[in-house]
Structure formats: C-alpha cells, structure tokens
Symmetry: C2
Subunit: 172 residues, 2 copies
C-alpha cells in the first residue's frame, strides 16, 4: 500500500508519502507554498495544479487529508477548507481512495494518545519511518503522521465496516 | 460585461449570470446540487466538474464568489470553504477576473443597506433584472445579487484602485 498524507493549507500545504510493503518507509515529502502577496484565486489555482501534478507523479493508492473541525477563528477555517476542498476533489478525480482523520485521531494512532504534542508526533514519525532526523517542518511531520495513521487505523476501520455490513445483512 | 455570481456550498451551490450591455439582464441561473449520501471527495469532484463545465459554456468576463467570514458553526465554514476554494480556483484557471464580496457588501450594493432581509434582496434582484417573478430558490437570488453587486460596485472599486495607484506613483 502506498499512501499520500496531505496537511491542507493555502500558504503551506504539507505532503508526505509512505509505502508499506513490510515496515513503512518514507517515499517523499515536502511543502507546497503559495505567496500571500498573490491574489487568492491564483494561489488556489496554483495549489490545485501542484496537487494534481503530485498525484499524477506518485499515483498513490490512497490519499489522506486532515479533517478539521475546530479552528481558533473562522478565517483560518475558511482557508483550510479551501485547501482541503481542492485536495479532496483532486484525489477523487485521480481515482484514489480518500480518507480523512482528525488531528486527535492521528495523534491516537501514531503517538498513542490524543493529547500528544507536535514534538511527540514528530518523534513517533521519525521512529516509525526509521528516519535519521526529526521530520520537519511540522507540516511535513503532520502529513506523514496522517499517512501512518491510515496504515494503522485504515485496515481496522475497514474490518469494522465489513462487520457492520455483515451484521446488517444477518439481521435482514 | 458578463458576470457570473456563485453562492458557494457543497450540498447546494447557486449560480446566476447577468449581462450588462445597457441595463442588466438575466442570462441563466440555477443550483448545482450534490447528494449528502455520497462520499465528500466524490461530491467535491462532481461540484468541480459542474463548475468547470459552466465556466466553459458561459465564458463570463468576471466571476464573483461570496466571501464568508462568519458562520454559525465551524463545520459549515469548512463546507463553504471547500466549495468556495473549488469555485475560486476554477474561475482563475478559466482566466476570468475574480471578485469576492461579503453578504453585507452585497446587501448594501443591491438593497441599499447591510441589514436587508433575504426577501428584500430577492425583490431588489427581481426589480433590477425586470423578472416576472421573485428569483428563487434563495441560492439563485444570492448568486444573482453577487453578480449585480459586482456590476454596481466593481467599476467604483476599480476607480478607487486606479486612484490609489496614481497617488502612490505621484508620491514617488
């Protein structure tokens, strides 16, 4: 399985790709940036082109985008919403499986509990991927954590979904 | 000038196109809908395809998307953000001028004051476009009001921007 994690943002959009044939390995990671001095529509169009190019180049099996419920202010929520909309649409358009997890779900899956700090998440990503250094900047660490979360939690969720379906069929 | 207004939303995305060679006239209007029962990434990809097809068919000079600052909850803000991100990126990608106005700015421009009710906006849109009936549903009226706002306010804003530029150049 080859999973691309995306930490959505308009100014900075982190991405991290992890292959998991055996133990998970880092394939590539980075940050797509757009200039705050450019008009928003052009920045969004650029982000969309970069995301599409990334999907076309990597051809991941699954794309994981952070699901954001709470933000300190609505302006930030709008901006994250715009970036996540582009990422989700591009992933669906590219024919990938798409999953979303909240930051808490990611911390639970990767670091063992929902209250983990940014640094603890970075350290767990470093250990799980056997990296020589802490993954940084934090956007990259978050994107890799999303991918690792999907590799850990995804199969379990799929089993639960299958069981629910079987139960529903048995109840008919 | 030919302006397409877009009232962004994932479940319902209103659009309304107005031509203004002389007095403004309705060209076309409607609502793009996606099924809440479908997975979000597929809904966003569908909305994106529909928006692109609309832009390719109409070839507007300018696209106007509502700028949302406040929402009753962050979940709604995320959803509106996702739809507006797709609309803004598609408009920029199609080479259109892109403008954004808040709901208050639209009410000011179309109905004369920022506290206008939905129904007052519908009535003013009806009068300004010389429609036989109230434009409905409200998403369509809002999209048409955005287009009318741009036709009213756009030229004034352009003049202000030009004056600011001239003043800046004169001050050098």
């Amino acid at each position: 399985m080859f999973v691309l994690g995306i930490d959505p943002g308009v100014s900075r959009c982190g991405f991290g790709a992890v292959t998991a044939d055996g133990s998970p390995r880092l394939r590539t990671a980075g940050v797509i940036t757009t200039a705050p001095s450019d008009p928003l529509p052009q920045r969004l169009a650029l982000l969309q082109r970069e995301l599409r190019a990334l999907l076309a180049e990597l051809e991941p099996d699954a794309v994981v985008v952070e699901r954001v419920f709470f933000q300190t202010n609505v302006r930030t929520a709008m901006s994250v919403g715009q970036a996540s909309g582009l990422a989700l649409a591009a992933a669906a358009e590219a024919g990938c499986d798409v999953a979303q997890y909240t930051a808490n779900e990611v911390k639970h899956a990767v670091a063992g509990y929902g209250g983990a700090t940014k640094r603890q998440v970075q350290q767990m990503v470093q250990v799980q991927l056997g990296l020589a250094e802490l993954p940084s900047p934090p956007d990259v660490a978050d994107a890799l954590a999303l991918a690792l979360c999907h590799l850990t939690v995804g199969p379990r969720l799929a089993k639960v979904a299958l069981q629910v379906q079987r139960d529903a069929e048995a109840a008919r």
